[in-house]
Amino acid sequence: MVSLLEMPQTLPQQVPRQNDRPVEETESAEIMIDVRDLDFAYGGNKVLHNVSLDIPPQAVTAFIGPSGCGKTTLLRCINRMNDLIEGARITRGAIHLGGIDINAPQVDVVDLRRRVGMVFQKSNPFPKSVYENISYGLRIAGVNKRSRIDEAVEKSLRGAALWDEVKDRLGEGALGLSGGQQQRLCIARALAVEPDVVLMDEPCSALDPIATAKIEELIHELKRRYTMVIVTHNMQQAGRVSDHTGFFYLGKLIEFGPTTKIFTNPSERRTEDYITGRFG
């Protein structure tokens, strides 16, 4: 059994590029997540068609596109959350994380998810205390030492820019926090297990502009240490926070490239139409 946890942290650089891929596709050799020729279906309903893209480490990659374009489905493929949905499966292609095929039978999905954290569209703090929310991931990973958990709780709450707001109420219920605080708590919870990748599925869709600004600032901060992938409906948000953007339409990746290029000089007509608000 290949344990993803046992892989060195600098893995992306060390793993040789796969030979079957043309070299000119990426300028840098640094690739964290490599999606190749991916087809995905819910039962007989095909929702992703031949998607290929490379997600670089320590950067923010945004997926944009109209509702139902498959961006969330692709995001959930990266930590295999789609395994939970009956009949949902990858019908062709593969996703490699640091060179390892995440759908290979010897890969433990629990290890994968520990390495690829996720923040959901609807904030889902557990109905426990703030402290228990953060320590949950560590406890299930078998960390029981109180001092280590205390340390991790503070570190991840600071990492999610929430520490100053909740440090006096760690024992109180997480559901008493405001919507924006709850979402940052969920981010902190994901950070506590020290993942390499953080997936965010429309993390600000239910938040007001001030809470959204805080989370965007946080995303900016977090990309120094984590590989971030964010799905968003909000194009301005994608423009503000991301380094790379992929535009999806009807299950196809229309265009993928540096955010500045996508937003100022897209090569596809449909990308331009979407970004300028002509549809979507």
Binding site: D111, P125, Y136, G137, I140, A190
Partner: protein, 340 residues
């Protein structure tokens, strides 16, 4: 115009007639419930409570049933229990014309203990199997023909009359497994009887836990079982307990399933008076509902039997209410700890 007016009158009459019919039907229910509770409360209260301190008939609650001896002695009417009559005989050494009434003296302590043991054992069993089953159905199983078959089986099990459960338990546990009339046979029979209700309610409670909590937990690298144990089951527990309250009332109240499998009409030893601890599980017990059945249909009726009939019914109601109350308090405590 005239036709319209008579039509309206007719519909008005129908309206008020129906309104009164519904109202009377509702009041009828209230009337029945009030009558039952008052009847048992007043007549049973006469047995259970006393006018003098300590105001509770401790003898009735703490002694086994005894035979009542009634006779006239020097113009005085004597009502003595088994033991008292023997003492009286040794001092008086006279022949008297005695009427004996079974079970009408003493108390019902062994029945209270027996019912409590039956409830505790069968509910433990039913909750364990029922919650496991509900977890499998709602968290692990994928819909298919086999799962649908299981669901139909559960529904059918819920519709089986309790006397059939009694016969089933008698055939399987008492005879085939050779457990005889015993606590163990009763536990399994009663447990199987409430299982469908517990499975259905537990499954509903599990499904009511938001999917986001499961996903949030799994996304942190929790295994499925860790997720269920730490992040699903605790939130479903109040609902499961609510359903088990009804189960408790049913388990405590059913006579038919235990009359062949666990209940004795009379037993002198208390359940803990066993020669070896393993025998504990293989002894029959007295039980409140079965005792009511025995004292109201198995012995000749007269004015002396009423006191034990109503007294037992009163205590029985009180015990069921007490157990239900405990579960409600337990549930409220659980519920206050979490909310979403």
């Amino acid at each position: 115009m005239i036709a319209a007016a008579s039509n309206r009158r007719r519909s008005q009459f129908l309206e008020s007639a129906l309104f009164w019919a519904f109202r009377i039907a509702t009041y009828f229910v209230l009337l029945c419930a009030t009558y039952i509770f008052l009847d048992i409360g007043i007549k049973g209260g006469r047995t259970v409570f006393t006018r003098t301190a300590p105001f509770v008939n401790l003898k009735f609650l703490s002694e086994p049933p005894q035979t009542l001896y009634v006779f006239d002695y020097q113009g005085k009417k004597m009502e003595l229990s088994d033991r008292e009559f023997r003492d009286w005989k040794t001092t008086h050494k006279e022949d008297v014309d005695v009427t004996s009434v079974s079970y009408s003296a003493g108390g019902i302590w062994p029945c209270i203990v027996g019912t409590a043991l039956l409830v505790i054992g069968s509910m433990t069993l039913a909750l364990f199997i029922g919650i496991s089953c509900a977890i499998y159905l709602s968290e692990y199983s994928r819909d298919g023909r086999f799962i649908r078959l299981i669901r139909i089986a559960i529904l059918n099990l819920a519709g089986v009359p309790s006397i059939v459960f009694g016969l089933f338990g008698f055939g399987l546990f008492v005879i085939f497994f050779g457990w005889n009339v015993s606590l163990l046979s009763g536990w399994f029979t009663l447990g199987l009887m409430v299982l469908p209700a517990i499975i259905t309610a537990s499954e509903e409670s599990l499904r009511a836990v938001p999917q986001g909590l499961r996903e949030g937990s799994l996304a942190l690298g929790a295994t499925k079982w860790q997720t269920i144990r730490k992040n699903v089951l605790p939130y479903a527990l109040p609902g499961i307990l609510t359903s088990s309250i009804l189960g408790i009332a049913r388990v405590a109240g059913e006579t038919a399933p235990i009359m062949f499998t666990a209940a004795y009409a009379m037993r002198d030893e208390m359940p803990w008076q066993v020669s070896h601890w393993t025998n504990f599980f293989f002894q029959g017990v007295m039980a409140l509902p079965y005792h009511i059945y025995v004292v109201s249909s198995k012995i000749p009726q007269n004015e002396y039997t009423e006191r034990v009939q109503y007294g037992t019914a009163f205590v029985f109601l009180a015990v069921v209410m007490l157990i239900a109350l405990t579960s409600i308090l337990l549930r409220e405590r659980q519920r206050r700890r979490l909310s979403w």
